[in-house]
């Protein structure tokens, strides 16, 4: 069940549809860095429900072909510079969504249904640019009642960072239940874990409600401070200074390359010098 971080990264195939959470915690930043080192290409990323640092890093490193998300932002650190640059250069295909639609599409996959309805959105230009979304007339309504139908979304690979993992592959994500939905909806789930714990997390009634069962998890890699520079629940806060420094560096291609050399792939960078 436990493998190395680089072996975990090696399990993400080129071109895979990969879903990941944004910069609000449990962000798989260490895995994103390992994916950059592995030189993965053509990823189709899904923001659950939005995208942040890890996505910008992967875009900047040329790992990403497409992005389906509700927003891309570094939060307090501002816009996501490599995302904006890739968009201006036409290097990525962006599909704009809205947060509850990302959740609903994953929930449809979780429930094994081909589509799911959602209120709202009608009148938004999002709709005009989502040929995969559809508006029907609510068949339960006696009067006209247009409603959005969204297709199910089953990612090839779901990735996130968990606070704990046990030898059964059970991982603890606390109240972040959307990651359980992500795990259920994904064909494969690869997790980094802040720490490895003895025993079975599901045997503890207090912990079990925050656990994603190992049933859904293909492999786990231990990655202490694996969310950094994003914070992890009550373990450590977001490294706001680092994010600001990243945002500054990533404004240019050269600055981003220097960031990669320093923080992501010092060995590779050193070898290339």
């Amino acid at each position: 069940m436990f493998i190395s971080l680089d072996d975990l990264a090696a399990r993400v195939p080129d071109g895979a549809l990969v879903a990941l959470p944004p910069d609000n915690s449990l962000t798989p930043s260490a895995l994103a860095r390992a994916l950059v080192r592995r030189g993965v290409r053509g990823l189709r990323l899904v923001g659950v429900p939005v995208s942040g640092y890890a996505t910008d890093l992967l875009i900047g490193a040329g790992c990403v072909a497409e992005l389906d998300t509700s927003a891309v932002t570094l939060g307090e650190a501002g816009g996501a510079p490599r995302f904006l640059a890739a968009l201006a250069a036409g290097e990525i295909v962006l599909r704009d969504a809205t947060c509850p639609a990302m959740h609903a599409r994953l929930q449809a996959a979780e429930k094994g249904v081909p589509f799911i309805p959602m209120r709202g959105v009608l009148g938004s230009d999002l709709l005009a640019h989502r040929p995969d979304w559809m508006v029907i007339d609510n068949p339960f309504s006696a009067t006209r009642d247009p409603i959005l139908l969204l297709p199910a979304l089953a990612p090839d690979v779901g990735i996130f960072h968990a606070a704990m993992a046990d030898d059964e592959g059970n991982v603890w994500v606390g109240r972040r239940r959307e990651l359980a939905t992500l795990a259920h909806a994904s064909r494969r789930v690869l997790v980094t874990a802040e720490r490895r714990v003895a025993g079975n997390l599901l045997a503890d009634e207090k912990l079990a409600p925050g656990v994603i069962s190992g049933t859904y998890v293909e492999a786990v890699a231990l990655a202490p401070r694996g969310a950094w520079p994003i914070g992890l629940l009550d373990d450590y806060p977001t490294d706001a200074e680092h994010l600001l420094a990243y945002a500054r560096a990533a404004r240019t291609r050269e600055g981003f390359a220097a960031y990669l050399a320093e923080h992501v792939a010092p060995a590779i960078a050193a070898a290339a010098e």
Binding site: N24, P49, V50, T69, S70, A71, V72, T73, G75, E76, G79, A80, L84, L87, A88, A89, G90, I92, V93, L94, R95, D96, A97, T98, C99, P100, A101, H103, M118, R119, G120, V121, L122, G123, S124, D125, L126, A128, H129, T143, R144, D145, P146, I147, R175, R176, R177, E178, L179, A180, T181, D234
Partner: protein, 251 residues
């Protein structure tokens, strides 16, 4: 005891929240990175009004236990009475644009305009919340446009489309606009100190109604300022340390 701009805006938002003509706001949600709306909500609550606050990014005793989809579910269930939205562009029909400017590029074509972060939950929240207060500090023809380039979320909908409400008002650093959904049009409600109908017209890209005499936005009272600087600042320090340090000099 001169109020700062942030304090004036927070107090203006609090008054819009408490507007007796609007449906009651028993449960208000505040999205990420919204310190001034959060301050307004705490001001309302700590003034003794019975209101439930769901602050998306509160770390301590966060009210959510179901993940980031719970805010949307709560709203879908009709439990959220009031929400705040902004926009990279906002137009005279209360359409908001969080997407970008220019032509919508073909898939994979280079993007030529200004790209905003994205729609977040706005396309859903704006239609499913009974009251939305639009809030954008920057009041310029660049932001307040005749017609947004792209609609993230529409200000009004045809009658057959299910929606619970729309914009109640738009607050900027210059003024308060009220929104009339029947006419899909803003009306100037009050101007902040130093502004006038003429200065607001000059800074606004869209047309709007205005009364013969435009009142000035009432200044914060001493009680309001005391509440903001004391108990409200104390509640907000953990979630918005930067904002609190800047506005109230607290670390």
């Amino acid at each position: 005891m001169t109020p700062t701009l942030e304090e004036r805006l927070a107090v203006s938002l609090a008054r819009l929240i408490l507007d007796p003509a609007a449906p009651p706001a028993r449960h208000i949600a505040v999205g990420a990175a919204s310190p001034i709306p959060a301050a307004a909500c705490w001001l309302v609550k700590l003034s003794g009004h019975p209101v439930r606050l769901s602050l998306l990014h509160r770390e301590e005793a966060n009210p959510f236990s179901e993940g980031t989809c719970e805010l949307f579910d709560l709203t879908a269930q009709g439990r959220i009475d009031l929400f705040f939205l902004g926009g990279g562009q906002i137009d005279g029909a209360a359409n908001i644009n969080l997407l970008g400017t220019g032509e919508w590029p073909a898939a994979g074509a280079p993007f030529r305009g200004v790209r905003f972060p994205g729609s977040f939950g706005s396309a859903f929240m704006y239609m499913m919340t009974p009251r939305t207060i639009l809030f954008r500090e920057e009041h310029s023809p660049r932001v307040l446009v005749p017609r947004v380039d792209w609609i993230s979320a529409a200000g009004v909908s045809p009658p057959e489309v299910f929606r619970r409400g729309t914009a109640q008002a738009l607050l900027t650093a210059r003024c308060v606009f009220r929104f009339d959904p029947a006419r899909a049009r803003f009306a100037l409600d009050s101007v902040h100190p130093g502004e006038s109908l003429a200065s607001v017209r000059a800074a606004t890209g869209f047309d709007f109604d205005a009364p013969g005499t435009v009142p000035e936005t009432p200044a914060p009272t001493g009680d309001e300022l005391a509440l903001l600087r004391g108990p409200v600042a104390a509640e907000m320090r953990a979630t918005y340390p930067g904002f609190c340090a800047r506005v109230w000099g607290r670390a």
